[in-house]
Subunit: 501 residues, 2 copies
């Protein structure tokens, strides 16, 4: 037979290309701060990606040239010191290297035994249990991120608290409508999860928040009581450890108490905020998450690792496994002994909807070892300090206005201009709706100019109905002067535009 | 402030480490065939991963040494030319490099506009539409694999065919029980999806297969009629393009006809088998998948790309988007114009349960360009030819027995030994249950010895109640002599053991 392969014809040339890539990527990251935060990809770049399906081969070097010209110069920009939009992490050089190592091994971590990758992931899960105060018997699995982690956690909650055999019968035969609770500030992925799970968004009660943007626990208790009266089945309370909008952390102790009293599952979405446990100055804020039945968290946000990596921890290993474990003939395992299915550990696919899984554990394992947990704690504290610093800059500046208290690493503020300054002194509720709309429009324009100018990337959001610039500082490259620069530029652009312009 | 970063103190040293990694990985893959396919990680290796949480930093070089000693030597082995267990792809050098590039850019592809990564993914989706004969208006999104792709597709099917507003009301208020159909040979991820979606496994009718392990379409039609009579709501037929167990491809044309006639959603799980469209000699076998309402496929299996990468295509973009699109204030987008939320393209998170997503498109885009689609077609055909060759070796050997016809790239066979040879001549149904159990045990032991000896890695499965060695050939490194070696070794080990030993 004339047999072919995808292996390189010339291994040395391939290695040389790899060397070039390493040098280019190291240089790219070393100099990232010298470039604009973000560069709007022009139409001729976008048009390049409408070309037809490649039927014939191209030299790897040529493909790499194409990458250098059309792909690399137009990232989202979250690797830059002045990127703070949404909640997006930064990544590291070593994290990128680790992805190459993992892909070279190309281990499938869905299961199989007596290979290293599953032990790396098991070790991580043990470390995370320790970090978040979960008991030794708790289970956990790495995920693509918090959307998947929240989905897995709510699936376990749903199945654990259902009245029948939910895996078999589904919700189609449910006698009582299952209801879960979270504040109106919880993440959209939780609504997506509830919808995907067949519960329907009607079953997600979004409870109002207090002035600190935390769930109003009095209203929560009323909602639960009301649902019980109506004959529904309350099953889960979702606590937010760091909301996207304002970084607010719900009173997790109170939520744990209510969950306990009411016999409900307590899930904490700790996407980024859970990591505040590492910062001596902030860990008190997330006290209570160690009492959760399940905890979702990301490592590609506030742990600065490259995409994708999240994790879910579940207090009851049995509930976790009985939601996901499913073993067809070709996956029979767990009998102890020899061979690739011979171990006695559960497989990670027993805890996840994914069967095939990559070796995402490696970048986390290598990163934690290289930097040590204490350094992550200091960096998280640094971001909190930077948020607090930025908040104080806003408060000192009469033309600017904070949208919410700065509790963690999120800052929301807006430019209100000279008119704003006057109404501000009198209390901003006195501004007319027309004036407010002008302020909204002004801030939208400020944001566009910050982004298009490559100056800085905050995002925008709506706080109590009004548009604000939004920063979530999950960036290990940001420096104090970057926030000074942001404020200067917002004032400059705001001045140029003026309210109502 | 005394500010810290995760960036290297010494960029040159970090680049030097990257160079070492490139050389090591290239060498590792170049020489993979010289090593055992798989090496059982010994207890002292496993014990290494029970060490405590690292609080303090270690030099990156030192962490890499640890990787070299404890992680790298113990992969699952699917990079090796003689790994054919389950259905696991091989990976490539360039794929591993691309993962490094993607992680260096660290772009979040959940959304945001005017950046390159989303255009790369859009282009891939267009190419896949063309490859699989989907119309220009069809939507698609990359996934972690087929588990997620099947989940997304069935969610869209469920919501599109539900009687009420399923996103809002869920299944809790459903009047008629929704039912879907697939053969008893469909993949476990589909049952997991059905359970996760709240439908319950009771709603998944697993229809018997014919002698070719394809769904029995007569029985399928009976099942649908029966469910309608009982007042249920049939909503979806699942076709398999390549089952895990035997590689069987359902009669997709017939399933498309039935779906059309009955007004049901037609989903095809084409995890690996869908790629047979690229092989001129095999594409007829999967004819009909271009009529599917949704198609799930993997690129980390038969397209040999490193983990994780799969894809789902959906004929009705509107159904797809209306299942997943959800836009909280901080993600408002699609208004056209400037800034990172200014474009008019839908975001990929509008088609997926994930919000944050990595840049997995890059490895697929670079790989397709480097090798060209025609080469992938030839490699897939090569694997089919190898399966057919192995099948013929089994048929020529009286001590061996095929478990199922070889249709694509999957081969199931067992060693039946001298006694087996005699009963075989008389037809294997005449073997007593005790004899059959002895043959099962013998083959289990053969498999363990093949694996533990590092000789070859088939997996094991049960076909019509009996244990068989199972090979899915999705390996671009396998050569004809590898299959000769496998047969020689099975016969040698079988001989050594003998039935009943």
């Amino acid at each position: 037979m004339n047999e072919e392969t995808l292996d390189p014809k010339d291994w040395k040339a391939m290695a040389a290309l790899g060397h070039r890539m390493v040098d280019d990527m190291v240089h790219y990251l070393q100099t990232v701060g010298d470039r604009p935060v973000w560069k709007h990809a022009p139409q001729e770049i976008k048009s390049h990606f409408t070309r037809e399906l490649p039927l014939d081969p191209q030299a790897p070097e040529q493909v790499y040239e194409e990458f250098l010209e059309y792909v690399l110069p137009y990232p989202v920009g979250n690797i830059h010191p002045r990127f703070w939009g949404w909640v997006i992490g930064t990544g590291t050089v070593q994290g990128a290297f680790a992805e190459m190592l993992a892909a070279a091994m190309n281990t499938n971590t869905g299961g199989l035994d007596h290979h290293s990758a599953n032990h790396v992931e098991s070790q991580l899960i043990r470390w995370f249990r320790e970090i978040f105060g979960f008991p030794a018997g708790a289970s956990g699995v790495l995920t693509s991120g918090c959307s998947a982690a929240n989905l897995i956690a709510l699936a376990v909650a749903r199945n654990a608290k259902a009245e029948g055999d939910l895996r078999r019968q589904g919700l189609q035969g449910a006698k009582r409508r299952m209801i879960c609770y979270g504040s109106e500030e919880i993440h959209s992925s939780l609504q997506k999860a509830v919808e995907l799970l067949g519960l329907g968004s009607d079953c997600l009660r979004t409870v109002a928040v207090n002035d600190a943007f935390q769930i109003d626990t009095g209203k929560l208790e009323e909602a639960i009581a009301g649902d019980r009266e109506r004959g529904f089945l309350p099953f889960c309370i979702i606590g937010a450890a760091g909301t996207t909008n304002t970084g607010a952390v719900d009173d997790l102790q109170a939520l744990a108490d209510i969950s306990e009293r009411e016999g409900l599952w307590f899930h904490v979405d700790g996407a980024f905020g859970a990591w505040a446990v590492l910062a001596p100055g902030a860990k008190e804020k997330v006290r209570g998450l160690e009492r959760a039945d399940s905890l979702a968290l990301d490592l590609h946000k506030w742990m600065y690792m490259p995409y994708e990596i999240g994790c879910v921890l579940v207090r009851s290993e049995q509930s976790h496994r009985s939601t996901f474990s499913l073993t067809p003939a070709y996956l029979a395992h767990g009998e102890g002994g020899q061979g690739l299915t011979g171990g006695d550990l559960p497989w990670f696919s027993d805890y996840h909807f994914q069967l095939s899984r990559g070796f995402r554990a490696l970048k986390a394992w290598m990163s934690l070892k290289e930097h040590g947990l204490r350094k992550y704690g200091r960096l998280i504290e640094q971001n909190i300090r930077q948020a607090s610093y930025l908040g104080s800059l806003v408060e000192q500046e009469p033309l600017l206005e904070l949208g919410a208290p700065v509790t963690l690493n999120v800052v929301c503020f807006r430019y209100v201009g000279r008119e704003g300054e006057q109404t501000r002194r009198a209390g901003w509720t006195e501004r007319t709706e027309q004036e407010e709309q002008a302020v909204d429009a002004l801030n939208r324009e400020i944001l566009v100019r910050l982004q298009e100018g490559g100056i800085a990337v905050p995002s925008g959001t709506t706080i109590r109905g009004r548009y604000h610039l939004h920063l979530a500082i999950t960036n290990h490259r940001s420096r104090q002067e970057d926030f000074d620069l942001l404020i200067r530029e917002v004032l400059r652009i705001g001045e140029e535009l003026g309210v109502g312009s």
